[in-house]
């Protein structure tokens, strides 16, 4: 029983990690290529989830909803990049933090205006109802397994895009030396818009997938945004590989910490106190982890420009 539960918790941790990776990949690309801190990344996650919920309830098709989440979030991302972000690349980080904080206020209120204050609920297709039997011992939610598989496929897709295609080569070149890349005749501002839209699309896609497990509401992007920042900082800002490793670590530590810390502490402490302390410690475990990593490796685990 214990081992099965542990396996299930590990899969849940993996699922959280994969979703965090979809968020963090965009954040870290945008930082690595453009040098921009984008707090509004959580808003794109929210916009994707809302687009999915709206289109899915309109057309009755979850697949169309998912497509809509990607398209709408990418469009919103491109719009934001052209309208606002371009003016911020040469600015200090402080200006970027504030301008993107302003974008959070604007987009959250705009969504409230459009959809009202009540959360929306997203229904997944019937084939994902219920549980599936894994390895003959474990009953696991079909939908969560679907998310894990889809997320892993996306991760592979990003890897191939960045490392094996011509456009990926240009993105990497832009990250390494913006001016030199532009001097070679590559339209760097188009690359920037493209990278931003790609990051936005990934965030929107993650929002739509998670929106069906939880609910779709106004503040949903913010906790995820902060977790994604932790992931990016742990992995090393600008590094996709770091984002993947960081996301899995954060997903596992958070999920397993919540599952097991109270029980572990009960071995040495009074049960009631151990439960309280364990829950409190579990909720801050990933921040502790990040701080410890930053103390020993101030550039994160995989420094991008080493």
């Amino acid at each position: 029983m214990g081992a099965i539960l542990f396996l299930e918790q590990c899969l849940n941790g993996l699922q959280l990690g994969i979703m965090l990776f979809l968020m963090a990949a965009g954040l870290t690309l945008i930082f690595g290529v453009m040098g921009l801190i984008n707090l509004a990344h959580g808003s794109l996650y929210m916009i994707g989830a809302f687009a999915c919920a709206a289109v899915a309830s309109w057309t009755g098709s979850f697949t169309l909803g998912l497509v809509a989440s990607v398209v709408v979030a990418a469009a919103a991302g491109a719009l934001i990049e052209i309208g606002v972000m371009r003016r911020l690349y040469q600015r200090e980080h402080l200006d970027q933090v504030l301008a993107t904080f302003a974008l959070i206020l604007i987009s959250s209120e705009a969504m409230r205006w459009l959809f009202g204050s009540y959360p929306l609920y997203l229904d997944v297709p019937e084939i994902f109802y219920g549980a599936i039997n894994l390895f003959g011992v474990l009953q696991y939610s079909r939908y969560r397994l679907f998310i894990i598989v889809l997320g892993l496929l996306t991760a592979v897709g990003i890897y191939l895009l960045i490392n094996k295609t011509r456009i990926g080569m240009r993105i990497r070149a832009g990250a390494a030396d913006r001016q030199m890349t532009a001097a070679l005749g590559i339209n760097i501002s188009l690359i920037f818009t493209l990278v931003f839209a790609l990051g936005a699309a990934l965030a929107g896609f993650a929002g739509a997938l998670v929106g069906s497990i939880q609910s779709v509401d106004i503040g949903m992007g913010e906790p995820v945004l902060i977790l994604a920042f932790v992931v990016v900082v742990i992995g090393g800002i600008g590094s996709i590989r770091g984002a993947l490793v960081g996301a899995i670590i954060v997903g596992m530590v958070d999920t397993l910490g919540r599952g097991y810390l109270p029980q572990l502490l009960q071995l040495i402490l009074d049960p009631v106190f151990a439960n309280t302390l364990g829950a409190a410690l579990a909720s801050i475990a990933i921040y502790l982890l990040m701080i410890i990593i930053l103390i020993f490796k101030p550039q994160g685990l995989f420094p991008a420009h080493g």
Partner: protein, 322 residues
Amino acid sequence: MSEKYLNRIMIALLVGLPWLAHWLDEPYYVSLATRIAILALAGVGLNLALGLGGMVSFGHAAFFGIGGYVTGILASHAFNSEPIISGFMGTTHMLIIWPLAMLIAAIVAVFIGLLSLRTSGVYFIMITLAFAQMIYYFSISWPTYGGEDGLPIYVRNGFPGLNTLQPIQFFMICCTLLLITLWGVSRLQNSRFGNALQALRQNETRVTSIGINPLGIKLTAFVISATITALAGSLFADLNRFVSPTMFSWHTSGEIMIFVILGGLGRLYGPLAGAGLFILCEALLGGWTEYWQFFLGLLLLGVVLFARGGLIGLLSREQKNA
């Protein structure tokens, strides 16, 4: 109009208008002015680290909240007559609460500052944010002092010789503290320490090369900045007679930063102008539409993109040398 006159006008308005409201028997406007004074004080604290020292702390909500929680915890122990540690029953005296709140915030700030100042740039922003988030989640999941529901302060804490429950008297306390702090920070700004701090923001390598230890200066500024923000948090708790984890949330950090930027980064009276504009926006726009934060966002975006001197810079048309 020069910045000096603008500052005098702002102070005159801040001190004068609440008395007018008091005289017209409009306590709502008095409490509005009290909020402005308190939030401006929090901003003055952050401005010391951010504007003068160039330390982009995205975690000052931690200190704001610590100020609030120290106040709430001391008051609730005194109210329920339960000792905190053997023999100390908490207190409802502001004159004891303030130093304690500031002391505890200072201790936490030394710890956070020592670890955070090892990093710089984006990592500094993120690590300060992470510390604040840690305290935020801890305050939510630790049930002793209300957890997610927060902690009420049943009777506003007392100040000798004054009736703090009367809005205008509580306002005078907050306003006086703000003025004293502004005076203190202006002295600090022009001292050797203040010059070193501002020089560090401009060129750390040069300052180090003439034999000044950057960590000591920055850490001191960070800690002073945190204690000022904690004092504001303590007053804020007394104003609302309630503390909740929201005080620790990253939105609070963002808002304190907004006060500083809206008014004008690195300007002594910037946080006052910024907090005033913020609260007036909230009161005026909030009465007109429930989506007022949409317009606040547009305003902030406009200031960041186009008016880099903030409100004071716009009105005084004086450039601040970077």
